[in-house]
Symmetry: C2
Amino acid sequence: MVSIKDIAKQAGVSISTVSYALNGSSKVTSETTAKVLAIAKELNYMPNAAARTLKTRETKIVGVFLTDFSGAFYGDLLHGMKEILSTKGYDMIVCSGKHSHRMLPERMIDGAIILDQTFGSEELIRYADRGHKLVVLDRELTHPNVNQVLLDNKAGAMLATEYLIEQGHRTLYAVTGPRGSYDSKQRLQAVVQAVDRTTDVTLTVIEGDFNKKAGERAAAKIMADTDGGSLSSAVFCFNDEMAIGMFNYLAEHHPDVRIGEQIHIVGFDNIELAAYTQPRLTTIDYSERKWGALAAEQLIKLIHGEHVDHERVYVTLRIGNSVGMAAADAVQKRLNA
Amino acid sequence: MVSIKDIAKQAGVSISTVSYALNGSSKVTSETTAKVLAIAKELNYMPNAAARTLKTRETKIVGVFLTDFSGAFYGDLLHGMKEILSTKGYDMIVCSGKHSHRMLPERMIDGAIILDQTFGSEELIRYADRGHKLVVLDRELTHPNVNQVLLDNKAGAMLATEYLIEQGHRTLYAVTGPRGSYDSKQRLQAVVQAVDRTTDVTLTVIEGDFNKKAGERAAAKIMADTDGGSLSSAVFCFNDEMAIGMFNYLAEHHPDVRIGEQIHIVGFDNIELAAYTQPRLTTIDYSERKWGALAAEQLIKLIHGEHVDHERVYVTLRIGNSVGMAAADAVQKRLNA
DNA sequence: TTGTAAGCGTTATCAG
DNA sequence: CTGATAACGCTTACAA
């Protein structure tokens, strides 16, 4: 391996001069710098990250941790992050799996963005206590070294639930995420709150896990409850993936039940697939890209020692065709016409 | 930062004893080891990756480089890799963007899997010459430090083209990937070969770029060519994304043209979305997971200095409903019935 | 079984 | 402006 020592020897200068020259310091004449640079190139010199990091105690890399790489791999989210990070001179690596957590305490990264159930909150607090900078996207965590950039789950769930109620639905189902999910808890809380404001609405909560299969299971249960769809129902799936599972199940096992007529479905996330369902899924939309960009900005500020307040990502209702008016209301409307 | 020095002081032993103890060497009594471990835990000791790497010259991390993070395309691929790597004691990081290339020459990773157009082949060869271990998934590259794990593009394109011809189509279109793409070149070559075997087939090549937009543009061009779909045509899009762009364009601008009747479409990749198109897209299928697993295995062998031969990932034709028989053949069949 | 010491490739502090 | 030199935290001969 060719090191600055080799360059120094070749150039007939000391290693410190080489180091200065390579880092573009003004302490060296432009001639010496030029010579050093030329020799460096000639020798095919490449700096050694480990050595530099050992000395400077920073890597200029931030880590993004995801629960897994499956499904919608958060493309736009990562895009948004990378964009910001690269303008700030940082590189980004994406990691997944409990084993990779070591990157943080072993100081291979200068900070981390967490969207990863496999991190326990106590674990994160330990890291924060050690001085590591974190931005969390999937939980509440109060610590001087941690910043939160969370989805406005409550607003989203409120929008979805109110929309269903406005459309005249009174038999509501909520299909949740996994038990530990912060997002799911928030959403459920808002749903309950919205339902409590209306007297004649009944809400049934079905535990899901954010995967398609859970949507299928929930659909089966609802079909059983509603006499194969002859009693109308309205379902708020806490993410689009489960909503799509529900679509799939219905298409396969109850081809006669029409979504948007006998059963009404709202999702959350507005993933790409949502635009291709038949009928188009009504869902909660937000900009993944902005979310990522915001998280990256906050992390950089934290790393630079600036103070930052927690941030929120706003959401909107994206109306499709998977929700229609409740039967009675539809009749009413026809009569009025 | 607490280092082995601090532990040594606390334990009243030397730093080398600490190092041995931490690494579970049998050169130290179990008592000393126990004491050291206890103190390490008490002091909240964490090894410093940079220091270890500087000394051992390995990081136990491999990098996976992707052109970008868009689409859900690489989920299973990454999964397949991670599975293998973690059983071999390696961590995996996913990188994207020209800037992150430095991870390799600066030795922050022990090897890399490349599926990334932003790497030039000369660049990769330079790295390989320096001794870095690589597995390439998107090009041919012959070098002792490089292994190829490529899709069987020719077989896939052959399957697709032959299928179209078998269905009686004689006016074929091929929508390619970007000019530099190895996969695209391979596929085109096979298409031409298949077409050349049949006398009365006309092939028109439309340059695309693997994105949805290109599919839309190609659809517009084909509609213009075929008098708004009144002349039947069969299209082989070199990936599903473009095929879906084509679906979208037709749905919007030519709702009367029926896919699988007036226009026939085959894709490549069998992405998740392909199962949700109306009608179901006929496409070329392969296991992303196996592809990833294979690539990871090859890389580990390369890192361990074992010899490996290039590998191929096999593909199959996944028949959907986006291709029907050519009009004349369909008439023929009706007559026969 | 444990300690001493060299060295991995940098950066950065001092003198000159 | 340039050169010695001391870290950074760890591994690993070699010595005791």
